[in-house]
């Protein structure tokens, strides 16, 4: 039986951002559909609406012309919409079979028969009686898929399924997905990887800033055209004057940066080498999850990697912790404002005290100098126009923009020679974004350097002097940003190559 899924005029508005803006799409069984877009384009919101995790503010979903009320994940299950999330929902210590039997309605004996049928049909080789923690990421994903198949779904939604898979496992997954499609299951494949779209999918819908910007047949598309649609020609108003600083000194130099992790959700880094000149902004682009987290933590000193050389202002700092690196006038603004850069339960002045550099005298002879910290905090609040002057306020009551201003203020008040920031404007409103962009440009004007790791290409093109792209833990060559186009960036971010 053919399946027809129609999304009609879906809108979802979060404070300060429109996640889905009047989205309408139609899917029919027998084809594999790609939903393509950058981080924050609105793909995840749409998928969460389809799987009943969140409700839309407006709009309707129709399955075979029936209007679906999806107010909880249970509703999605009942209506035969299956979903495999990027992060698995499995109990690691239970066996595969126990995991599958948790929400099954039939008895164990017939369930086992049915699972074995599925295993045989799709050529999956999984031992049902081993604990899930012994499985590889690809096998765990198969368990999730089996869980969906047991309910004979009409629609199967795969959210970034290849981000934790090896090349081999990716190929196997594609073969299975094509089989499902032949059997009449409608498949919606969410990704930001351009090559996968071209090799797997029949039709592709591209989303940007909450809107569907194009729907087309993949046979009419190329990596370049898709990249263009995904990233868009969206250059901002304030654009920095790019500095050609060939003769400037290199103040920061990284050599042989390698990182290997046992955790499948962490990305390994392979032989990164780069340098930053005085007064320059080096932009590092990439879709999130390609190693930015790990790179940031290594640059800030939270992770120390062996055999890496990091030279800052002619000193080797690769073995120093973040506090020691700050003494050499480095500053860091991590992506996670709420649980890393600041502690919401602490008062503003206590969060300011986290950047305890020697000349601050925040802690004299081991004692808290509250007066000094508060004075200093007041200065930050006014210099960086945070909309409060109450340093006793708990930070959880600051908006994202004001919290980010506080964090940047805290990091910049030491007049650092190098600021490393990771997605500094993530989730902020336009006003705060502009303020932070202007601040970052000002730093470079004062001959201080910045490294901007960002998933926002617009931001990178606006602020960087040179740009490189990180993909699967490797850096592309470093390009002057006036030679970089959004299209080129899009190709590199999606794993393609240029020239």
């Amino acid at each position: 039986m053919a399946t027809d899924l129609r999304i009609s005029n879906i809108s979802k508005i979060y404070p300060g951002c429109i996640a889905n803006d009047n989205v309408s799409l139609q899917f029919k069984s027998g084809k594999i559909y790609a939903l393509l877009g950058e981080n924050g384009a609105g793909k995840s919101t749409l998928v969460k609406i389809l799987s009943g995790v969140i409700s839309p503010d407006n709009g309707e979903v129709f399955l075979n012309e029936k209007n679906l009320k999806l107010s909880s994940p249970l509703d999605a299950k009942k209506n035969k919409i299956g979903m495999v999330f990027q992060h698995f929902n499995l109990f690691e210590t239970l066996s595969v079979f126990e995991n599958l039997s948790i929400d099954a309605t039939e008895d164990n004996k017939s369930l086992r028969v049915r699972i074995n049928e599925i295993l045989k049909k799709y050529n999956f080789s999984i031992d049902l009686d081993v604990p899930v923690l012994n499985l590889s990421a690809g096998q765990k994903q198969k368990v999730e898929i089996i869980r969906c198949l047991l309910r004979s779904p009409k629609v199967l939604i795969m959210d970034e399924p290849t981000s934790v898979l090896t090349e081999q496992e990716t190929e196997e997954l594609f073969i299975s997905l094509k089989k499902f499609c032949d059997e009449g299951i409608l498949i919606i494949y969410i990704t930001h990887k351009l090559k996968e779209v071209l090799s797997l999918c029949d039709e592709v819908a591209v989303m940007r800033k909450g809107k569907v910007v194009s729907v087309s047949q993949t046979q009419n598309e190329k990596v370049e055209t898709l990249a263009n649609k995904m990233v868009g020609q969206k250059l901002g108003k304030i654009k920095k004057k790019i500095k050609i600083s060939k003769n400037k000194d290199e103040i920061f130099k990284v050599k042989h940066l390698n990182f290997y992790s046992d955790d499948p959700f962490e990305t390994n880094l392979f032989n990164l080498n780069f340098s930053v000149k005085k007064g320059e902004c080096l932009g590092i682009a990439g879709i999130s999850g390609n190693g930015q987290n790990e790179l940031f933590q290594i640059l800030s000193g939270e992770i120390i990697t062996p055999n890496t050389s990091i030279i800052f202002r002619n000193k080797e700092i690769a073995k120093l912790n973040p506090k020691q690196r700050r003494e050499y006038l480095m500053a860091f603004s991590p992506e996670d404002r709420i649980s890393q850069a600041a502690v919401p339960e602490l008062k503003i002045y206590e969060n300011v005290a986290l950047n305890n550099f020697k000349s601050s005298n925040f802690f004299e002879k081991g004692l808290v100098n509250e007066r000094k910290i508060k004075e200093h905090s007041k200065k930050i609040l006014s210099d960086f126009s945070v909309n409060t002057d109450n340093v006793e306020l708990k930070s959880q009551f600051l908006s994202g923009g004001n919290l980010q201003k506080l964090i940047l203020g805290r990091e910049l008040i030491t007049a650092p020679e190098l600021l490393i920031c990771y997605n500094p404007t993530w989730g902020l409103d336009v006003g705060a974004i502009n303020y932070i962009h202007e601040t970052l440009i000002k730093i470079n004007d004062q001959e201080k350097s910045t490294i901007l790791i960002s998933t926002d290409t617009e931001e990178l093109l606006k602020l960087s002097d040179r740009i490189t792209v990180i993909y699967k833990g490797k850096l592309s060559k470093i390009m002057p940003s006036d030679e970089v186009t959004p299209e080129k960036l899009g190709i590199l971010m999606g794993g393609g190559s240029i020239d």
């Binding site: 209506n79 996670d336 305890n356």
Partner: protein
Amino acid sequence: MEDLLIRIEKRNDVPTTLYFFTPFIAIILTIIGGGIIFYALGFNPAEALKFYFITPISNLYGFSELLLKATPLCLIAIGLSFCFKSNNWNIGAEGQLTFGAIVGGGVALLFYNQEGFYILPLIIIAGAIGGMIFALIPAILKTYFNTNEILVSLMLVYVSKLILDYLVVGPWSNPEGFNFPETRQFSDSSRMPLLFDGLRVHAGIFIALAAVLVSWFVLYKTYLGFQIKVSGLSLKTAKYAGFKGKAMILIVFMISGACAGLAGVGEITGPIGQLHRMISPDYGFTAIIVAFLGRLNPFGIIFASLVVSLTYLGAETAQIFLQIPQYTGQVFQGMILFFLLASDYLLFFKIKILNLKKNELGH
């Protein structure tokens, strides 16, 4: 058909006053719960509760006993608060207490036939160092070998008790003691001075009070205290700020161990006066309850140690007057912790019951 869906949501802002008030709610619920248990056992609940909570402290001697038992509880809980505030789960204070008592007691036995003002301070210092060393074992294993401090510190409790057992039966047993498992009596110079004639409350209480003041100062006024606070709230932030995580773990365990060691010394040089097998009625474990009931706040811990101390006394009185086992004390301690955790859960989370109608499409 309807599906009931229960959703648990975090409350964003919990008022501080309510946060410090919930321990009182837990205590009231414990008393009510205790009344119900007494009723089920066939006693008049009001009378039984009176024997439990009022009779023990209705005279001066009882009041002195209350302070006597609160002293070690308070001291250990103060130490534990350093660990718990920084996300280090030392639950082996009983072992650190025992080892502190062994080291302190060993010094006391060296001087068993001597007198001198310097003897008691030596014993106290030895006890603190003993507890500290014993607490360093789980701390070092945690920082350098990634072991779980909960398991290691707990298992070491039994190690220290067996060491004590061996010593009081073997090498340290009293040569004139007819093979009883106990050491010689300590000399008078090795005993904590009593505060009042005829009452057992001793000078150890001043050590506990000093610990309260010092810990308040360290926790709220020093860089170490700030680091402990930040690490407790977010380890990620502590790492980002560049705090020396390993050194801090070692320090909080040492503080905690020293406090437990002091409590052990207070017991053997105070009411007991020698080493034997039963130097502590699980003060080290009960102090965990005290620490949480006192909200890990030094002054809250004073109050909590008095409440929990009363459950020890109540259990003894109840045994005498109602012929029920002394272990009811532990029942009460368990109830306090249970009700405290339960009210905390309701304080930090709200439970929403959603009434979902089954999708009309199903029909």
